[in-house]
Subunit: 161 residues, 2 copies
């Protein structure tokens, strides 16, 4: 057995730049929630993007299981940064964001601007963005961990992004 | 607003075949846990494979945050089925498995067979499989949901796989 250093360090400028590029490049994410039916962890794939002010957000249907979970308990975690088709997927960088979900009401004044912004990065969403069950949800980051591969984990202060 | 049917159906043979192929083809997964430090959802990427008997499993380091979380509370959820680089990622099928983690002790008689089996599908893991902090964890499925794209969600009985 070899001794290895504390695997999590504070982010340096290179780590911050990588974190920003992972957030800016992601069009989908994995979302961890607490299932209100049984109190156990649940997981889903969601659409992902950054709002006009740079805050992570999604567009989800109220028919989805994760929508009900976030309504019952807005504490959640997101993972972005998907491996390509080559190489060891565990060495591909990914960002894990603990967050609180903040629902945007269908009649909120800001919805029109969010809709226009979202459709620029997710043009296929125009097929369903106006369905009555689809709404925007923002994620207010609580803590962020960047894993850049084995032995390259960094804590990131959400305000630094 | 249009009325749409209950989005979750019981699995048909085609859905079962898709679920089996997603499990058999995955080399990594997203893992949702409950963080013992704060009781909130946490998420990570883990290596993923099927054991000799077909049960989902992983190889993880005891230095990882998810290892500590699973030790404190083995209830978790896995998602497998990664989008390719083309098309709408939300239409790509994925399997969401609620499970309980079962740790395989380093001195368990079965470890040698699991190690050989794992390395066939994850040859790069030979670089670290024998580090003292790496161990195998099996996932006993509790419930399974297959999402094959919008409007194509199926409940799957774990015993059917």
């Amino acid at each position: 057995m070899t001794t290895r250093p504390d695997p999590v360090r504070d982010a340096d400028p290179e780590a911050l730049a990588l974190a920003r590029s992972l957030l800016a490049g992601a069009t989908y994410a994995a979302l961890a929630v607490t299932d209100p039916a049984d109190g156990l962890p649940g997981i889903s794939r969601i659409a992902f993007g950054l709002g006009p002010e740079g805050m992570p957000m999604t567009l989800i249907s109220s028919l989805s299981t994760h929508h009900g979970a976030l309504r019952a308990d807005p504490a959640c975690a997101l993972m972005v940064g998907e491996p390509g088709e080559k190489g060891d997927p565990l060495t591909h960088p990914r960002l894990m964001v603990k967050a609180r979900a903040v629902f945007v009401a269908q009649d909120a004044p800001e919805r029109a601007a969010l809709r226009d912004h979202w459709l620029k990065a997710h043009p296929k969403a125009k097929l369903y963005v106006d369905f009555g069950d689809f709404g925007f949800v923002r994620f207010a980051p609580v803590s962020i961990l960047l894993n850049g591969g084995f032995g390259k984990a960094f804590r990131i202060d959400p305000s630094a992004l």
